[in-house]
Structure formats: C-alpha cells, structure tokens
Amino acid sequence: MRMSGLSLETIPPLHIPLRFFYTAPWMGCIAALLLLGGADDAFASRWSPQVLALTHLLTLGFMAMVMLGAMFQLVPVISGRLLPGGTAVATAVHVSLVCGALLLAAGFALRVYSLFAWAVPLLLLAFGIFLAALGAPLLRRSGGGDAVFSMRLAALALLLTVALGLWRAANYAGWSLPPAPAHVGTAHLAWGLGGWVLLLVMGVGYQVIPMFHVTPAYPSWLARAMPVAVFVSLLALTFGQASLTRDAASACLAVIAIVYAAYTVALLQRRRRRLPDVTVRFWRLSLASLMLAALSLLAWTACRYTAAPAPPQMAMLIGALVIYGFAVSVILGMLQKIVPFLVFLHLQRASMARPELLATLPHMGELIPASRARWQFRWHCAALLGLLLAAGSAAFAVPAGLLLTADFAWLAFTLSAALRRYRTTAQCISD
C-alpha cells in the first residue's frame, strides 16, 4: 500500500521541484551541442576530457538536476517532515549545481582546469546543502518503508561519489592534496552510477511503480536485500585489495542489477489495467538497457581471465547504456508522469476552496498529451541508438549529437507547454 505512507500535508511548493526539472533539458542540450562540437575525438577514451565534460553535463546537469528536484518533492511527502530552509535551500542548491556543473564541464572541455577552483566549492555547496537538508528527515524517519531505506543508502552513495569526485577535481586544479590513487576514478564512477543512481531509481521505483502503474508491491525482503547487496558490492569494489575481490564485486553488482531489472519488468507485466502508457515503455527501455549493461560488464570482467582482451570501446558502450539507456530513459519516463501529476495535485489543492472549479481542471493527459510523450519516446530511442553507435565509431557522433539535441529540446518544449497550462489554470482559479 504505497500511498498509505505518504504525508500530503508536507507537499513542497510546486516551484521547488519544477525549477530543477525545467533546467535539466537545457543542460542536456548543452551536452548534445558539446558532442556536436567535438565529434572527431568524442569517444577517444573514457577518461578523455571531451568524454568527461559530456558525462558530467549528463550526470550532474541533467540526471542529478532532476533527481535532486525529485528528492526535494518526495522526501517531505514520504518522511512527513518539511525540509528545513524551504525555498532558500532549494534556490541555493539549484544555483550552485547549475554553475558548478557548467564550470566543471567547461574546465574539462576547454582543458582549463583552473575553472575547477570555482566548480569544486560550488558543487560542494550544492551537494553539502542538499545532503544536510534531506539527510535529517531521511535519518529521523523511524522505519520509513522500503523506499526510504533505499534512499538512505543512495544518499550515502552520493556522499562518497561527491567526495571521490571532488578529490579528483582538486588534483586537476593543482590543489595541495595527496594525489588520488588510480582506482579512485573507477570508484567514483561506480558509486555514482551503481550506487547513487541505481539505489535512487530502486527507491523511487518502490514508491511510484505500484502507485502509478497499479502493480503489486515489491516483496519487502527483496526491496531491502537488493540495495544492501549493491552497497556491500560497492564497498568491496572500493576497498578490496585483490583484483579478484574487485572483479567478484563487479560481477555481483551486475547480477543484482539483472535481478532488479528482471523483477521490475515482471512486475510491470502484472499491471492491473493494461492501458497504453509511454512511461511503461520508458521503464522497459531503461531496464533493458540496465540488463544489457550488466551483461556487458560481466563479459568485460570475464575477459580479464581469458586470452581475448575486451574491446576498448566496451567501456564506452557500458557507460552509454547506463547513463543514457538506463538513467536518462527512466528520468524521461517519470517526468512524463510526475510533472502532470504534480501540476494536477497543486491545481486540485488550489481549487479546494471552490470545489465547483475541480471539474474545469485539465486532466493529466491534457498537460502532457500522449502523442507528445510518444514523440519523446521516439526521439529518445533514436538518440540512444545514435549514442551507442557513436560509442563504437566516431562517424556516428554528429548524428548522435543532433538526435540528443532533439531529444532534450523536445523535453523542454513539452515541459514548458505543461507549465503554461498550469499558469493559465492557476490564474483562472485565483480570479
């Protein structure tokens, strides 16, 4: 009974999550333009400055932007506590994250690492304030259900991701810190994608899949065991001394991802009402990408123990599958559902004093029409395919960049249209 644990008295103002959701597509567009601008050596190596700039625009500028906005919305509702600081905290996090992500990406893309001297404090500020504000309600909530359980581990993973990332960035900037060991980059990547992103998607999924798609709930033992297993695997991956330990941890992480994806696909098959729903398509695409990435990771790990080495582009392929196939897909799908739902919820609350106006409120399907959401799915599939091809051959980088631009621009257009509809309706209610 997912909604039974929700506190609807602690819904934050609409502008708090929306400022994050509406910024994200533009950061995605900048990432796409960067891909277009440096198409020749776009995917030379996973550690090339061009790839690092693109990756951080997608992970910080797009993914973290939406995820932080969603947490500002979800945590007060799930935990039943308003966030300390309210709008001021959200503004500080939003502005710091935008500026920090842009400066970090610019530092990589232009190879002007002195920009990190500005990017590091800004990102530290953004995530520090965010974790302090959201950590308190997350930790205080006794019990809190499976969603909060997974989100707590996600927040811890974020803390480690940020700490490891900032250590690396400080080294780039030439600050007098001990140089980060070679595997810190891999650990940063693993905690960010395998920890923060996977654990957060799990936690949010525990809440929204049964609620929005009317499916049975995840069994509680599985919902708790999977995040714990992910977290333990990441600890082994980071602190394991022997390469065998680290490879076993990678394989374990991949297996958990496959189990999670397979169970969620099966759960979506058990929807009580099988109406066409674009968000379900996005979930399936996302979970299929996660499975493919996990299988590729298993193969990549196994290659270490065979005579045939893994092709160098395999790491790029896994990265593209996890970032754009898994995370961006699920985010796009959820935005198609969450934005109209939040807009409707706030309009509904605004019109409670005049119940006769409820009949005039736009339905969710009018805020983001199904045809527009279907086009988002098509653009996204095309962009994902383009990016996967570009990960294999630079010849596809320009088409991939164009398709990514179209994907994010379409999202910006869709969200803006929903916001316009909200404003006109809210104006009618207040008149």
């Binding site: 929005f212 009402r273 409707f344 006769e356």
Partner: protein, 85 residues
C-alpha cells in the same frame, strides 16, 4: 434506504480515482451515498468531503483493500439500519 452510487477505483492510477470520485460527489444528493472501492486510502478525498459537508467512513472489513462510504449526516441512521455502516 439511501441508494448506492458505486465507484470501483481498484484498477485506477492517481489522480483518476480523485477525479471520478469528486465528480460523483458533486452530484450526490441527500438519500444517496457513495461506496468507493480503492487499493489505498484516498486521503485527498477526505478534505474534499469535509468542504462539501459529507461524512467519510472507511469500512475495515470491506471487499477491497480500502472501502469508503461517503454520505450525508442526515442519512446516517438509515445507513446503520441497512447495515451499510
């Protein structure tokens, strides 16, 4: 005996149960009551009912995970006599 208006929202995703229920409740007249079957407790509806001076009662042993009876205060005795409440 008040007449029943039935809304089975067990297979509906939010906010459809609220949309349907609020539309039915706006049309509800004394002598009628709404029986709503839901897969969760529809909290937002409680506030809406209060504003329309309707009474909400969750039936614990209902046929759905959550069964809600919404009625006018004047009909309460008749509903109790008919074992609806």
């Amino acid at each position: 005996m008040p007449s029943e208006v039935l809304l089975d929202a067990r297979e509906m995703a939010p906010p459809e149960p609220f949309e349907r229920a609020s539309a039915l409740l706006r049309e509800l007249r004394p002598g009628q009551y709404l029986r709503m079957l839901h897969h969760r407790v529809p909290y937002p509806l409680f506030d809406f009912c209060r504003r329309l001076s309707l009474i909400c009662q969750v039936i614990e042993s209902g046929s759905a995970p959550c069964e809600l009876i919404v009625y006018f205060a004047a009909d309460e005795t008749a509903l109790r006599e008919a074992a609806v409440l």
